[in-house]
């Protein structure tokens, strides 16, 4: 069944989808472990979420409802074009509401609205290897994963604390999954890391250029690396959202004029608008 003639459902051919699903099943079976897959050419350049798109295309069905966010927003060019793409090649419904989506493809954020069982969060991943800055040799990083030999990552955290007094990683903060594999959460803010821990939704990660897939099954333990005496602390700007007043959400800084004026607003546009709508309704 195809929404637009000339496309197979979900764009990818059935063999490719089967191959990706096999990689996904393996990834779910070994939480946090990077599984290689034969990444296909997509009608988008790398860096536009080709890994996430292939994952979404392999798990999406006609009954799904898709939400796509980029930095928390549904209305950026990237998010809009991916949403349109799936509306065209899969004929699925789309939504901007986190609560109404069955699949959410994301770049750089986890929605503020808590996810629930049955939902799938698909991350676009530029660099799946959490050790690549510390150990450039790919064979050696594989060996480190195989042996769970992650002392080097702690050396990096140690160096940060020695130099800056705290761990100076605000995005892509490394996590241990299920007490076994070190994993890159993709460039989400460290603020979002705790949302991964024991999340009821299925979390899937696709890296197109690097040809890797990994996963965090529902309710899996996901811990941000830290020291006992320097525990992980998710940071956010010390402000309320200028639009909805939230003091819990992750904020973007917006410059309002050329005189240095700036405000903070929620990065998650659905969350912010829903709160505003509720506030208006209450008035």
């Amino acid at each position: 069944m195809s929404a637009t003639t000339g496309y197979n459902f979900g764009y990818l051919d059935e063999d490719t989808k089967r191959m990706i699903r096999r990689a996904l099943l393996k990834a779910v079976a070994i939480p946090g472990h990077q599984v290689p897959f034969g990444s296909r050419e997509m009608p988008l350049p790398y860096g536009w979420g080709t890994g996430g798109i292939q994952v979404t295309a392999s798990v999406i069905g006609p009954a799904d409802r898709l939400k796509v966010i980029d930095q928390g927003a549904d209305d950026t060019t990237n998010a809009v074009s991916i949403r349109r793409f799936f509306a065209r090649v899969a004929g699925v419904e789309t939504t901007e509401r986190t609560a109404e989506a069955s699949i959410i493809q994301t770049r750089h954020r986890i929605p503020e609205t808590p996810l629930r069982e049955g939902q799938i969060l698909v991350y676009q991943v530029p660099m799946p290897e959490p050790l690549f800055r510390l150990e450039p040799r790919v064979a050696e990083t594989k060996r480190m994963h195989a042996l769970a030999d992650y002392g080097l990552m702690h050396v990096k955290l140690y160096e940060d604390i020695a130099r800056h007094g705290h761990v100076a990683i605000s995005y892509n903060y490394p996590v241990m999954v299920n007490g076994r594999y070190l994993m890159s959460p993709s460039p989400i803010p460290a603020f979002d890391n705790p949302k991964m821990h024991r999340n009821p939704a299925l979390q899937l990660f696709g890296a197109g250029r690097e040809k890797r897939i990994y996963a965090v099954p529902p309710y899996t333990e996901v811990r941000s690396l830290d020291f006992e005496d320097h525990p992980f602390e998710p940071v956010r700007a010390r402000a309320g959202c200028a639009l909805c007043g939230s003091r819990e959400s992750y904020l973007d800084e917006v410059v309002t004029d050329d005189a240095g004026g700036r405000i903070f607003v929620c990065s998650d546009t659905d969350y912010c608008q829903s709160r505003q709508a509720r506030q208006e309704a209450a008035e």
Binding site: L147, G151, H154, V155, Y158, E159, R163, F227, H230
Partner: protein, 262 residues
């Protein structure tokens, strides 16, 4: 000097052989080292010293022969049957390796404290304050000003780098340390200071050391026993004073004479 007596060797190798093409780098080498014992391996360039150290420490599999390691519980294990994960663990707990070139044994882009802390973190230490305390104590112990704890090793002199490498290696209290020309490439006065430090640490910690060196004087200062290698074979072996004062093999006589002449 006599080695502290314990009844079972830490490491025992028998009939090791390894060829590089036509070159027999090791040719029927057997040796044993006991807890707390310092054994020097001397011999001319190309005689197989580094190769022997690499085979004994499991970094290089031999063509023939076997290496037996005795763990702290007293259980003997064959190195070749140990598996990579166990060998790695061994290398950062019960064993240490000090390289001639500090670049091979240090992370030059990581602070002195981070270099010392790495083995602790790799073996599960997760308390920053304790790691720093251990690093500070070890810097002091190897005579580096603890105020340099956050400095990068590339700002250190060659002698300091070598002392840092030793601190980084000893922080997990290994029982056996492999050293490949630890004083090579250093000025004579710096060498002397480093040898004194190694001697003090060996005595304090009861370390067993397999020391590869060109330097007969270093061997005399540190070693209980000496092995003389030539063309991949051990041509003479014995207590240090006996080998140096009364060498039996013609090659050893030449070696000792050339040092005396120099």
């Amino acid at each position: 000097m006599s080695a502290p007596g314990m009844n079972a060797p830490l490491l025992e190798a028998s009939d090791l052989a390894l060829r590089y093409g036509a070159v027999p780098a090791l040719d029927g080498v057997s040796l044993a080292i006991w807890p707390g014992e310092v054994v020097a391996i001397v011999g001319e360039s190309g005689s197989g010293k580094t190769t022997l150290l690499r085979v004994l420490s499991g970094l290089l599999p031999p063509d023939a022969g076997s290496v037996l390691y005795r763990d702290p519980e007293g259980t003997a294990q064959r190195l070749e049957a140990m598996g990579e994960a166990a060998l790695r663990r061994l290398h950062r707990t019960d064993w240490g390796f000090v390289h001639q070139n500090p670049r091979d044994g240090l992370r030059l882009g990581v602070s002195a404290g981070g270099n010392i802390g790495e083995r602790l973190m790799a073996t599960g230490a997760r308390h920053y304050g304790s790691i720093r305390e251990a690093a500070t104590a070890w810097l002091r112990r190897v005579e580096i000003d603890p105020a340099r704890i956050d400095a990068l090793p590339r700002t250190f002199s060659g002698g300091m780098q070598q002392r840092l490498q030793i601190a980084r290696t000893l922080v997990t209290h290994p029982r056996l340390v492999f050293m490949d020309e630890p004083t090579g490439g250093l000025d004579v006065s710096v060498q002397a200071r480093l040898l004194d430090l190694i001697r003090a640490l060996v005595a304090d910690l009861g370390l067993a050391v397999l020391l590869v060196t060109h330097d007969i004087a270093a061997a005399r200062l540190l070693a209980h026993r000496i092995l003389v290698m030539r063309h991949g074979r051990v041509v003479e072996e014995g207590l240090t004073d006996r080998v140096l004062d009364d060498p039996q093999h013609a090659y050893t006589q030449l070696l000792v004479a050339s040092v005396l002449a120099a």
